[in-house]
Symmetry: C2
């Protein structure tokens, strides 16, 4: 395998002192202008970095991203915007590019100002540390209460050119005293037109990061960015029929799927990764609604923590989801074991078998609604004592 | 005060053996036909008792209600319907009325058949135990994991006639292995036309029981019923201008408000009753959506458990609620203390004061959105280790 690298990209992660300890500042940089696209939180109170990066992406190009953890730069109005711009400016000066060529992201405490003095010292150090092998350090520097760094790679070939895709993400940790944030940054040496990259990225995020739900919360700072710099030498992808279009789509999907699953697996207090599959829905929207309802149900999540094959709670949640279902055709399977089918419960043997399988680190709830052909899938985690501990025991 | 009584009504609560221990069967009976109305779960998978009682209420009249706890009679299709009908029939025979004059409710485990043999012995015993003073026993017999029985009364006068309103309810307990159910039964000796009672009841439930949210779940068995038998001798209320109309409305509201607050206070694992007030919304619907989002937010509920005056989590939740808000005019108060106002956080002194007040058994989150004049209120509770324990530690 070797170290994860992507042609023309360098990365770094260092400790700047924004956090009391550990790395908290990352730089990702392309040696040439790259096509760039982003998907952002739908919150009506987005953080300053979201506003700044969204605006800069209108050009369809960027050279890199500067990211800090520890303070989210949210809730401070125009003062926050000025600090987000200043952070980009400091980074641009340190790496020698235009100030508008960099994107910015922050995650951490809200309502506190970004400490520019620390960034003035930290950003040049992060620039000096940039390296082709800096991705694991960058993945660590963007973490908040994530328990492990998240980094995934994929590769494919187009007309003899090897193309690489690499992604890092941080999740569903909370940072005192505030909120979960999803940040994901992908880089590839594929050549892609900005218009196609924007479309492809929206589809990829919808199918992967938007399929993760930890506790039904939406952060003010969520952001997923992709940069494609063309350094592989492969021909430019401009649409679905371009050479390499399929390879690119699959590689992005693969990296983002693995990152999304890592985020769910590492949800706060999680003891298991849970996949919720809903099929047999009347429409895609109803499949999605039913899956979200099941994935966010506290009763279902606590039952999974307790390894209880409780189809009753799943049925109750489906009943409340206001989707069409035909009880006689409804089927609920837990880790492949049917526990409710055709309007009746499976016997105690099936229940026991399902209960034993719920002890695995990856479990699956599959529901067929019997009302149509649409389906949806989500990843989530269980709800444990540790979620309460992490989120209640911080006291100001 | 004396014992809670309502003219012309009797009640009882006994142990029939459906539960391993404790009372589990209640009868409520009027000595004459009463106007009756009901509001039921919006679940698409309602239990058999919901279907039977809803159908019977089309007549606008009923004599009483037979209720069991321990088994919910949900998820068994036509076999469940037959057992719910049989339960009414047994009760009608025991009390000497027509089988179609009784309503039925069940709460408890889903997917298991109602044990008719136990009901055949228990229902005559419950009928023999009927008494004017049987309300506390009935309130206890409908409990599942509620920690206390819930009974409230009110009274008013119309042209010299004393009129009484009495209600019992059970909440937000879970019963192994299944779900929270809200059951509420009100009786009054007011005389009310069925049409007016239906309208008044819908409004009352909307303003009280529908303002409670424990964990965002909707049960398959939720049901709130009211019976008005006219035994007070007061003139019949047929509309808003009838004599006594205002007294009736206020007494129903008072009893249901107190019951609703008890339900929230006694939510599973709750350590405090939480009132969420949203004002300054663009519309009633947006006020309601914002309040529900805050009341159901795991991050907010765990912060309350931890007595953390965390306005950041409240702002985040409001941002995600997709309602209009004007940040410069947004105000967040915790137990009366402003902690965020006009786009900025209050100082550490206010935070400390708010934190201290969050230790009280009843706390309030008040949010002004700065976008209009609409408001909404909800009652909920915090989220503690005990919620996880209650809901995870049952294993089949």
């Amino acid at each position: 395998m070797g170290l994860p690298r992507v042609a023309g990209f360098r990365a770094s992660g260092i400790a700047s002192g924004i956090k009391a300890e550990g790395a908290d500042l990352a730089l990702l940089l392309s040696d040439r202008p790259a096509a760039a696209a982003g998907v952002f939180t739908r919150s009506r109170l987005p953080g300053a970095p979201v506003l700044v990066s969204r605006r800069r992406l209108r050009s369809g190009h960027a050279r890199g991203v500067v990211v800090n953890s520890g303070i989210a730069n949210v809730g401070l109005g125009s003062a926050g915007l000025r600090r987000a711009e200043a952070m980009c400016e400091l980074a641009a000066r340190a790496v020698g590019c235009g100030g508008r060529e960099l994107l910015v992201a922050s995650t951490g405490v809200i309502g506190e100002p970004l400490p520019l003095a620390k960034l003035r010292r930290g950003i040049p150090a992060a620039a000096a540390a940039l390296s082709r092998d800096g991705w694991p350090a960058a993945a660590r520097a963007i973490m908040t209460t994530d328990s492990v760094p998240k980094l995934e790679t994929s590769r494919y070939r187009v007309r003899g050119h090897p193309v690489r895709v690499l992604g890092i993400a941080k999740g569903s940790g909370m940072i005192e005293p505030d909120m979960a944030t999803l940040l994901a940054f992908l880089v590839t040496d594929a050549a892609v037109s900005p218009a196609w990259l924007r479309r492809l990225w929206r589809e990829t995020v919808e199918a992967t990061f938007n399929r993760v739900t930890i506790d039904g919360e939406t952060s003010t700072s969520d952001m997923a960015l992709v940069l494609a710099n063309g350094a592989s030498g492969a021909p430019e992808v401009r649409g679905a029929r371009s050479p390499g279009a399929r390879g690119l789509r699959e590689a992005l999907l693969e990296v983002c799927t693995e990152l999304a699953r890592s985020l769910a697996r590492d949800g706060e207090g999680a003891t298991k990764l849970v996949t919720v599959e809903v099929s047999g829905a009347r429409s895609r929207a109803e499949a999605e609604r039913a899956a979200r309802r099941v994935a966010n149900s506290l009763l279902v999540k606590t039952a999974l923590f307790g390894q209880d094959p409780n189809w009753g709670r799943i049925l109750q949640t489906l009943g409340a989801a206001q989707v069409r279902l035909v009880l006689e055709r409804v089927e609920v399977r837990l880790c492949g074991v049917p526990v409710f089918r055709g309007g009746g419960a499976a016997g105690p043997a099936a229940r026991r078998r399902a209960g034993a399988r719920l002890g695995r680190p990856e479990v699956e709830i599959a529901v067929h609604l019997g009302a149509g052909r649409a389906r949806a899938r989500l990843w989530t985690c269980d709800l444990s004592y540790d979620y309460i501990r992490i989120n209640a025991e911080y006291t100001t």
